[in-house]
């Protein structure tokens, strides 16, 4: 390009001289620059060093993204050839650099968007998709021994399995216990299908409907369809901040939300609109700090209120379910349809980023509950309101609620306040479900305020009042106080007292002290709870292993009360094939002798996946969500390979079948996996070490691992005169290599066979062979070339 411009420049210079001498002009395509930014090529007419005219359309093309719409519209009304005086922006022709220069006034510039959302282009391009078929069986096997009072001797097994067939997932939980009559107990079983683009999850089986307002959560055996934003965690359906700002010169821009930096970037001078600034619940302080090349700072500060239940403008959320309610009693799941099936559903819509509303309905036989909820964010907090009606045959009732919440956040200790107020009214015949009895409280009031008293002390005060509709009863009221001290950053002590009087004048008192001590350098934590009412103290000591393989996680609990004394020690030892653990408990209850119980457990998973005519399986640590199996090729099976993802420690390594299983992928979140070749024998390496995965709901990835060729070639390449051939690129077949400054080579990835070693620009070649049995380093020695062309 530079060469081309240079030639054009020379030619034009000549033509310019020629044209000057002839007194005529010429036309050319030359770049238009706004300071250092190339806006595009423009067709111009030049005479000598003078700009005669500019082609309107090419100028418009170059300026369309830079100028405001009204300025562009004004240009469009001008003739097709423009003299510099007709153009509202300054234009200067630079004959030395053969370019047009301008300096556009900030007032004429269009506003550019700068997005603070996550940029996933690299991940999307590189990410590997899950296998079409895979699954896992999680099992926790535990054998108990002990006194009969503590359960005696028995065996228990918990099983959680899933099969994923092209993103259709069948999942099930089963429990087995030898000291029960039925022995086997079935937990949740369901079929799940996600539609990612629409953010919709459908489920058939045991489901847990989401609720709004006065709705009651009921597990059902049935069908559910819902909008689930976790299917695309990178999309922001919740309100985000937007802010316009202007930069007078190129600046380094940092964006802070409540003093936490969320992004930084370099921006050229111009008008900008920051989009998708992530907001927290409450009143947010957003600071944009711009530092130009001379160190001058500009600050833009604004406040934005948000609520975790608000939706962005135009976003909607829903959850619709139908089925038979179930309850689990005595290790048995009962589906109860004597009162009929339940319909439960709501729909929420974001009318603006400050206002969302929802409608809902629950029905069972003749019972209906329906209502609406509203959330409005205002500059001084969030207001919520709700109204609901219920009817059962001729009984009709109404309920309403009103709430206010203010959460301020800031860097300084005295910036963080929380105030919440709530009022609720229920009429006599208002019910939230078929079997409800009328509430005795008609008006309920609650308030809570948390105020920082100093940088180490937070004080919280709450109160509630409920007036009864029956004059024979008394009004309810209560209060609670919480004092929390932070000591030396890592330690905390909290005092909590609450008193509540019910409508029968019974007082319920709670008072406790909670102490937590953290010792980060040894990953140890101590927590202690003293319950004044129960006269009970409980101490918990935990030494964490940070999820490191082959390191114990130890937890000891001691409980000392007037009637009961307990001691417990729990050990957990993670390995790549599962977590081994044991627990010892001793208990002394007032009228009984001391009883003891012990258990030994194994918590593991069997995993499998089929992809691209390849079957992989393995035994791993339990799989809470999705997983990946790395299956080494045959010649790598004698090697140990480690794996790291988000932890600084090895998170998995070669297992029973030489596979490496990573058990902790989270659905719909891109995950980088780095294989750790530290354990490989010297001279051996992996073809690829880094993988980006895109898991779906309970998915399985199967990735075949290959060795980087059979041998690594070493040696030194010399010129005919004996001096090293330094810094030259060469090839052995498809493998590219280079020489260092001493002519040394290190060539990975060479397979068995006869090969030619060549350097770029030379015909001379070195021929050598690698046997099938050869592995690791192969020394080629000194290679002296015959040609001396380099």
């Amino acid at each position: 390009m530079i060469k081309f411009l240079y030639i054009v420049f020379i030619l034009l210079s000549f033509s310019s001289v020629f044209a000057q001498s002839m007194g005529t002009s010429y036309t050319a395509q030359i770049p238009l620059y706004d300071k250092d930014t190339n806006l595009g090529d423009v067709q111009v007419e030049i005479n000598g060093d003078e700009l005669i005219s500019v082609d309107r359309d090419s100028l418009l093309n170059a300026l369309r993204d830079t100028l405001k719409e009204d300025t562009i519209a004004a240009f469009e009304r001008l003739p097709s050839q423009l003299t510099p005086s007709q153009i509202s922006i300054p234009l200067r022709f630079s004959p030395q650099e053969l370019k047009l220069e301008t300096s556009i006034d900030l007032q004429l510039m269009a506003r550019k968007k700068t997005d603070l959302g996550v940029d996933l282009e690299d991940e999307k391009r590189d990410a590997l998709q899950p296998a079409p078929f895979g699954g896992a069986i999680n099992y926790r096997l535990e054998q108990f021994w002990g006194d009969e009072r503590l359960g005696g001797k028995y065996f228990s097994g918990q099983f959680g399995s899933f099969i994923n067939m092209n993103s259709l997932v069948l999942e099930s939980q089963m429990f087995y216990q030898t000291n029960t009559d039925a022995q086997w107990f079935r937990g949740d079983t369901r079929l799940v299908k996600d539609f990612e683009k629409q953010n919709i999850r459908t489920q058939v089986g045991d489901i847990y409907p989401q609720i709004q307002g006065f709705m009651v959560a009921k597990p059902l055996g049935g069908i559910n369809i819902q909008r689930n934003f976790s299917l695309n965690p990178y999309r922001l359906p919740y309100p985000t901040g937007n802010q316009n700002f202007t930069l007078k010169s190129r600046s380094f821009v940092k964006y802070f939300v409540n003093s936490v930096m969320v992004k930084s970037e370099y921006l050229q001078a111009g008008n900008y609109s920051a989009k998708d600034i992530p907001l927290n619940n409450g009143l947010n302080t957003i600071l944009i700090e711009a530092t130009d090349d001379l160190g001058q700072k500009q600050f833009f500060v604004f406040k934005a209120s948000s609520n975790i239940n608000l939706l962005n403008e135009g976003e909607s959320r829903f959850d619709v379910s139908y089925g038979t309610p179930f309850i689990d009693t005595s290790l048995k799941r009962d589906y109860i349809n004597r009162d009929g099936n339940v319909f439960s559903g709501f729909y929420q819509y974001g009318f603006s980023s400050l206002f969302s509303s929802s409608v809902y309905l629950q029905n069972q036989q003749d019972f209906n509950l329906y209502g609406s909820e509203f959330i409005q964010a205002i500059p001084i907090g969030n207001i919520t309101a709700g109204i609901a009606r219920s009817n059962l045959e001729k009984l009709e009732g109404t309920a309403g609620s009103l709430g206010y919440q203010l959460i301020t956040q800031g860097k300084r200790w005295f910036d963080s306040h929380t105030l919440s107020l709530r009022y609720e009214n229920r009429s006599r015949d208002f019910k939230t479900q078929l079997t409800d009895v009328s509430t005795s409280i008609q008006n309920a009031y609650a308030a809570n305020y948390t105020i920082p008293v100093s940088n180490i002390l937070t004080f919280s005060l709450g109160g509630n009042y409920g007036d009864v509709r029956n004059n024979l009863l008394e009004d309810r009221y209560g209060y609670d106080v919480n004092l929390s001290f932070r000591v030396m950053n890592n330690h905390n002590i909290a005092f909590y007292v609450s008193r509540n009087r019910d409508e029968f004048k019974n007082w319920n008192d709670v008072a406790y002290v909670f102490l937590t001590i953290s010792i980060p350098e040894s990953n140890s934590y101590v927590s202690s709870l003293y319950d004044q009412q129960q006269k009970n103290i409980r101490v918990n000591v935990l030494r964490d292993n940070q999820n490191k393989l082959y390191h114990f996680r130890t937890q000891a609990i001691a409980e000392y009360g007037e009637e009961r004394k307990n001691g417990e020690l729990d050990l957990n030892y993670p390995t790549q094939i599962g977590d081994f653990g044991s627990r010892i408990t001793a208990s002394k209850i007032e009228q009984f002798d001391t009883a003891a119980r012990g258990s030994a457990r194994f918590n593991s998973a069997f995993v499998f996946a089929y992809d691209d005519s390849e079957l992989g399986f393995g035994v791993s640590r339990p799989i809470p969500g999705s997983f990946v199996i790395f299956k080494p090729e045959d010649r790598l099976r004698d090697q140990k390979i480690g794996l790291k993802s988000t932890s600084p420690f090895t998170e998995s390594q070669s297992g029973l079948f030489d596979e490496i299983v990573f058990s902790n992928l989270i659905a719909y979140q891109y995950r980088d996996i780095q294989l750790d070749p530290t354990f490989l024998e010297p001279g051996r390496s992996l073809q690829r070490e880094k993988f980006t995965l895109y898991p779906t709901y309970r998915s399985a990835h199967l990735i075949k691992l290959s060795e980087r060729g059979s041998v690594i070639l070493t040696g030194k390449i010399l010129k005919p005169d004996g001096t090293p051939i330094a810094l030259q690129v060469g090839s052995v077949g498809d493998v590219t290599f280079f020489t260092n400054r001493d002519g040394q080579i290190f060539i990975e990835g060479v397979e068995a066979g006869t090969h030619e070693l060549k350097l770029e620009g030379l015909e001379d070649k070195f021929i050598f062979s690698v046997n099938k049995e050869e592995r690791g380093y192969k020394e080629l020695g000194i290679i002296q070339l015959k040609e001396n062309e380099l």
């Binding site: 780095q674 070490e689 880094k690 040394q744």
Partner: protein, 229 residues
């Protein structure tokens, strides 16, 4: 400090990243090796050469890098495709039983070679980077022990000579210099110890620091350097 930072020929365009910048092989824990990571954040293949040198430092903080066979590096030469990471393994291969920590430099240098078919024929300026990371081979139970050997101050500058009498290196993070003379106490915090804060004293080494300071510490004071790392 600048010596342990990557030497960047251009500050804004990171062709590759090398991490971590400091690594310790704890020989006492039965370890013999460690690893570094090269992350090619650019859009083309890059050629990188890796070397390990033994690191010596004089009183002024000047480093001398010596050839060594104590540490092997794998791979010593590597071509990394765009947006790929590559693990670099280092192994302590010496049979010498260490009683004191030994210091090394791991140098990752991008070479001026066009190993990418896409850019092979393109003209232009190639930006090259060189990272110089620290590597230590540390025997069991090694500890640092930094003492102030001498001090002189004249109201313009304070000259401190420190000695690490221990057998492990010590980074001078968040240092506080406390002194006591004739019952009067004084102290200088990290912000006042310009030129010393963040510096490194290798095991068994002495370092001299000249700190611009108007404070005069009486000669004969009892001086203690507290390091809060």
């Amino acid at each position: 400090m600048n010596r342990i930072l990557p030497l960047l020929f251009l500050p804004f365009l990171f062709a590759f990243n090398f991490s971590p910048m400091s690594q310790t092989i704890e020989l006492g824990e039965g370890k013999k090796g460690g690893q570094f990571l090269i992350d090619n954040e650019g859009g083309t293949n890059i050629a990188v050469e890796l070397t390990v040198k033994e690191r010596k430092m004089d009183e002024e903080g000047n480093e001398t890098l010596l050839e060594t066979k104590d540490i092997s590096v794998f791979p010593p030469q590597v071509i990394i495709p765009p947006r790929e990471k590559r693990t670099i393994r280092v192994q302590y291969t010496s049979k010498e039983e260490l009683t004191s920590e030994k210091s090394y430099r791991v140098i990752a240098e991008q070479l001026p070679l066009k190993v990418d078919a896409k850019t092979k024929d393109q003209a232009g300026i190639q930006m090259l980077m060189k990272f110089v990371a620290a590597l230590y081979a540390t025997p069991a139970g090694a500890k640092s022990d930094v003492k102030v050997v001498s001090q002189t101050s004249n109201g313009k500058e304070l000259v401190l000579i420190l000695e690490n009498k221990g057998n492990r290196h010590q980074l001078l993070n968040n240092p506080v210099l406390k002194y006591l003379f004739a019952g009067e106490k004084g102290e200088m915090k990290a912000g006042e110890l310009t030129g010393l804060t963040g510096e490194n004293i290798l095991a068994g080494n002495k370092r001299k620091f000249v700190i611009p300071s108007k404070k005069i510490i009486p000669s004969g004071s009892r001086i203690e350097l507290k390091i809060n790392d």
